[in-house]
């Protein structure tokens, strides 16, 4: 229980920084960032094999945020983990910042690979997972995909190749928040059944509540038992989770809060006691 409590407090801190940095620069994607807070917090603060003092450690697990526009969450996790100072978060998207509008491998410590144009992250993860085998370093690769992103045909090219090579060291989270930029995923481009699609590509699929730490940790533990397939963790989430007036509202995909909205959001997130 202590573990879960600590993760929940960390997630609260991540949410605070996400809102704070997007408000500061008046630009970014709060809704998309908030839906993956628990997934990324679980990876960085509980599960992934990483070392903030050695960001380029060759044996580290790789984390690829394929839905790169949600990088405020990534940056907040990296800062809280100690990859760079917390003050750096305030420079998000600004001139000559370490923190580009979308993730840049060569600028941000801890960012394993550039991302931001959708549909490439799963392929990138496939290449990393093949490298893990070839180099015998045996690291694992975690890719975070958006559900809207599944519209991209290359996702399914990545899925077929991961399956060909039986990449059980590749784990793809699908952040199923049911909203994409122009509307609901059902209106813009229906992708259900997502689980059946991945299963048809010969993936193992684990369905969870993407805001429940016990379920996320259970699923991650389960992946260790799977020996001959890549794993999709299909995470049911809420876009804008944790800020009531942002939840499930399309407009908060890529809009910064004004001062009144910022104050309300910070109040809802609550005091960060880390």
């Amino acid at each position: 229980m202590e573990v879960i409590k600590h993760l929940e407090e960390t997630a609260r801190a991540v949410r605070y920084h996400v809102i704070d940095m997007i408000y500061t620069v008046q630009s970014g994607h709060p809704g998309s960032s908030l839906s993956i807070v628990e997934i990324m917090t679980a990876l960085y603060f509980n599960y992934a094999k990483i070392d903030p003092r050695n960001p380029l450690w060759p044996d580290r697990d790789r984390i690829v945020l394929s839905k790169g526009h949600a990088c405020p969450t990534w940056y907040a996790c990296l800062a809280l983990k100690g990859y760079f100072p917390l003050e750096t978060l305030k420079t998000l998207r600004q001139f000559e910042s370490l923190l580009q509008g979308h993730p840049d491998k060569n600028k941000t410590p801890g960012v394993d690979m550039t991302s931001g144009s959708l549909g490439h992250g799963l392929s990138i993860g496939v290449g990393m997972a093949l490298e893990s085998r070839l180099s015998k370093r045996n690291f694992r690769v975690f890719v975070i995909l958006g559900d809207g992103e599944l519209n991209e045909g290359q996702i399914w090219e990545g899925a077929e190749s991961a399956s060909k090579y039986k990449l059980n060291n590749l784990i793809a989270f699908v952040d199923k928040n049911r909203l994409q930029m122009d509307g609901t995923t059902y209106e813009v481009m229906p992708m259900d059944p997502i689980d059946k699609k991945f299963e048809a590509f010969n993936w193992e699929v684990l369905s969870i509540d993407g805001h429940s730490f016990p379920e996320i940790l259970w699923a991650l533990k389960e992946t260790e038992k799977i020996k001959d397939k890549p794993v999709c963790i299909l995470a049911e989430t809420i876009k804008g989770k944790g800020v009531s007036f942002m939840e499930n509202i399309r407009e908060w995909h890529g809009k910064a809060p004004d001062t009144a909205e910022y104050e309300k959001a910070i109040k809802e997130i609550g005091r960060v006691i880390l």
Partner: protein, 315 residues
Amino acid sequence: MNLKKASMPTRKAFALRMEEMGALDKDFAVFESDIGYSTYSYLFGESYPERYFNMGLAEGNTISSAAGMASCGRTVIVCGYGVFITLRAVEAIRTYVCYPNLDVKFLSSHGGLTAAIDGVTHQATEDIAYMTTLPNMKVLVPCDTLSAKGCFDLALKTPGPVFVRLMRDPLYEVYNEGAELTVGGSTFLRTGKDITIVGYGDTVFQALEAAEILSAQGIEAEVMDAYSIKPFDREGFFTSVKKTKSCLVVENHQRRNGLGYEIATLLLAESPVPFDILGLRDTFGESGNYNLVMDKYGLSAACVVEAAKRITAKK
């Protein structure tokens, strides 16, 4: 023309060297998209199956996966046809190879109309425009067996992305053993005082053949093999043009946005001279015999002769 017929196309020479180097360099990996028997990457695959990944007919996934592997520090060579690599998968090259400046190298076959027989879908006639425009990308185009092998070695040892344009069919051999190729270098295959003719890949041979005809008519052409398109050998080029005071670029590519346009901007900025470019004039090619297609689209030796005479007359 008094040149030896080539024993193999440059695509095969490059792939043979790749297989040879596999024994000396145990690290680099090769990615293929189901045309391994055409790019000859299967040779590497047979010798080093653990480092050979056939990703099927999915060029975007092939290149993004190669980028993922290269992001871990390994050099990856991606094999394919120019049209598919540079057009279908150009965003993967731009954003995931060139932007992070990764060690991904491209064996890109069927450059220009050298894939004449295959028709437009397989003729890469815009590849140089796309690839030279991408920051961090280096672009090499060998014309024969030895220079193709040399370009493999250059690609492997040069940090960052390198694109190598290769040909479908064998033409001639012009390089000798021990020839030194460099990124940013060029080779003057013939010296002359009247005009500088710049070619790369197969057009080097059209230029050489034209130079012989021109010589019989009293015009001595200097032929530059610009095998390093980017970076381009400015110094060697200007040394030649200062002497010849005229220039013709012959390229098996769209006339727009190819090497000719680059050279035109260099000349305009430094010292304009009578100049022209032979390339595809806002048109696609077509199927057919290579020599007939080259002549129809204005790229044959006869077309080079005519253009060179027109240019030198303006001096």
